[in-house]
Symmetry: D2
Subunit: 265 residues, 4 copies
């Protein structure tokens, strides 16, 4: 008979453990939610500074107003108010490559660059590595994940703040170092100055915390779950979803079908 | 032109605000994730004691091992590893009436009882209200949400702990009082002693915090999101989903169809 | 070792069966998709007339233009174009009590009335049963599911058509009979004439086909899956989701938070 | 004011149109569900032969027994029986790269090969193109989508059947031709004979029908929606989800946490 091992939740008649701890005695009332989320993902208890950087990232990603994910959650709640889980799940499903994916893409990208090069010893070294990186991406016709923002063209205020918090906690590691260097050198290659965006710096910071790269998007989704609950709470008190729906539905224009396909050959 | 008002995330060229705060300067590095989630849901900043009770609830609900939600997230990841958001969303969709719904059901139930009665002045008064409540539920052939547990038959360890934390923080309000009284008096009516379960006491505590009743299930889902990320992290390192799948698939027995229906008349 | 019995898909080295049939030889190329969907849900092969009524229902429910479900699918695709399954799933999650639920509610409602009364023998008998039903709903302060439509105030064109098709196929059973009678008599009680809507008549027709009442919403969702694929196909060729998103985002008005809660007592 | 054009569903006080047709008069009772799904996706009405091939594909993909998607739908229904839409959506979320993605991957792969080469005139020409294709994939260390099956090692019975149906309907186009040629020549390169699998041939057939390549996975999901409704119908009558859940939960083994990460540098 197969046994499925797990170090997460387990319970017996008298006791519940989580991560090997006594849930009631040692976790509840003693471990903050951010700390617990980190611990669950890594199976190691983070130091207070790690929790602070982690929670700063979650705050940065929790809610960005009327994003597609927020609109989707509100519309789904309008349509199926009996199922809060459906409204939240629908919103999270927008957390893919385009809107919430930058965090993961940036963390992975920085990690790949670092895996293929010796660690620079100083800022000059970082700048050289960054310069080479930006050049080779440009030659390959690829963007740098985390570079550029459609609103904060002169700088995303989250970026310097997260650099600062990581430095305060002594967690300014190679991913953040490389990302900062990219911010310094890219104008030499691209001929214009783009901001390092908040989603990108979050990916760099999470990677420096040693979190699993495959799950960086997951942390953005955790943050967004809190944001979407906020959206639902606001929708409950000041509903706008029906107006949004009607603004789309009433402005539609019925047009004749445009036949498609029939042959790809 | 319609305007959609929101007090959540907003941004301009130079600034990002969240809940009216400067996100970078006043939230990141200063507000814990649990505190932020509470704030987003209520648009008021919680006191430290409120955050502590809230985070104790989230810890109590984060992960319970190989629940249906955890299995679903792992199987969905097995099947569609390119979409972390899909694996998390699929798991959350199990957060309905049966497995994660007790928290909401219990909070709402207690609230309805309280809405129909004057607040008791002392334990004797609470016991009287609880007795009347249990009796009338029994006469109506209905269960009491939050009463009973299939594993922790002699008591759920989370329950006394959450009462204790709420008392320490001076947040032991009417919902917890009524729930505790139900725990004391129900054997007189039911003829047996059932435990007050952890999911139920969480609902009572969230209701005493003044959180929107419609969203109590949402907080259980927020907690579970962290737990499901933990499940995915473990699955990445020690995969079991394929074995689970095969244990079901290989033990299936093909049987002939059983025709159904044709008339309801 | 537990065996899980199933009469659905099964395969061996050389053969694949579905519903006890040889999939390749007896199903592919011989069974239409509507027929197969009916068969899967009931484990009995429908007669051609049953398939025709069933497919008429699916056609009636497949797409209603820019509904919340359609908008949600388009916005989710905008946000996560790498995950078609996520975009479709998000849209389906709007298929709850309000927008797609009428079909199920109406079928169940009619079924409950029929379960509590002897089958009328003629139109007069149906009218009497309907009159009593409408009166008792009205006294209970409840709506009649399937009665009324916000656009088709003078009559929903799908309703007479589905009555007609069911009659042609000799499948005009008790649920449709009761629904039709409600259409005839309700003005006597309500003092105004409301249309029998298309979602409602679909529920009645599905119930007359003997399909499981618990799954009536499921058939609406199956129909809508085809519609949502149509929405995605149109979005791919003539994208509007970004404009919809911007129309909401740009018209938002940042307002101060409104603190909520703190006490329910 | 923006107008959102659509050729799908539209309605006025008296009329409902779908794809420019009168829904009640010209679609209901006249257009089968498979035909309608094709029409919605392409905005052109398919010929009867196209519908037959399309429906054969849907039949081939509708249900494969206790797949992860089926287990997920059953477990989600167990956990949240109030939300059929959630159970179906959760199941569909497993329709990603691994289990349901082969159809799309194969269609796209064949299309890319065809886009880069002149159309061969005869079987010899197809074999040459296929040989070159298999060789270059092998050199690149990549698999051929649609080649190989873990159960049907001696041949997937759906594959010859779909070739046959397509030939009968005169819809055996370049994608199927290339796929068949790959089946003939790959042993020369790989040194072993692998079956052309059913999911792959479905992708080839859908591509030959001129359906949008971006949505091939969507058709697999449409087919699977019907299958998942079948799974739910069976679960309602012969429940197994709780046993599946318990078989996993009771066989788990609590193990100590294994700390992860801390540095990627």
């Amino acid at each position: 008979m197969t046994e499925y091992p797990t170090a997460l939740g387990a319970s017996s008649l008298e006791k519940i453990t989580l991560l090997g701890q006594d849930l009631a005695g040692d976790v509840m009332g003693k471990v903050s939610f951010g700390e617990l989320a980190f611990w669950l993902a890594t199976q190691r208890r983070p130091a207070p500074g790690e929790t602070r950087v982690f929670e700063a990232v979650l705050a940065a990603l929790a809610d960005h107003g009327f994003t597609p994910t927020a609109i989707v959650t509100r519309l789904t709640y309008l349509s199926a108010p009996d199922s809060i889980q459906g409204a939240l799940a629908a919103g999270l499903l927008g957390g893919g490559s385009r809107f919430l994916g930058v965090t993961e893409d940036c963390g992975r990208f920085l990690h790949e660059v670092l895996a293929g090069a010796p660690l620079p010893a100083d800022d000059e070294g970082w700048d050289a590595l960054a310069l080479e990186t930006v050049k080779s991406r440009r030659e390959a016709g690829k963007f740098i994940p985390g570079l550029g923002h459609h609103v904060h063209k002169d700088g995303d205020p989250r970026t310097p703040r997260l650099f600062e918090i990581a430095a305060e906690e002594n967690l300014y590691g190679p991913h953040l170092s490389l990302f900062a260097a990219i911010g310094r050198v890219h104008p030499q290659v691209l001929g214009k100055t783009l901001p390092l965006n908040g989603a990108g710096v979050c990916g760099a910071a999470l990677a420096d915390l040693g979190l699993p790269l495959e799950l960086l998007r997951g942390f953005a989704l955790l943050a967004r779950t809190a944001g979407l609950i906020g959206q639902l709470a606001e929708e409950l008190r000041n509903p706008v979803a029906n107006e949004i729906f009607l603004s789309v539905d009433l402005h539609n224009a019925s047009v004749p079908p445009e036949p498609y396909g029939g042959s790809h050959g």
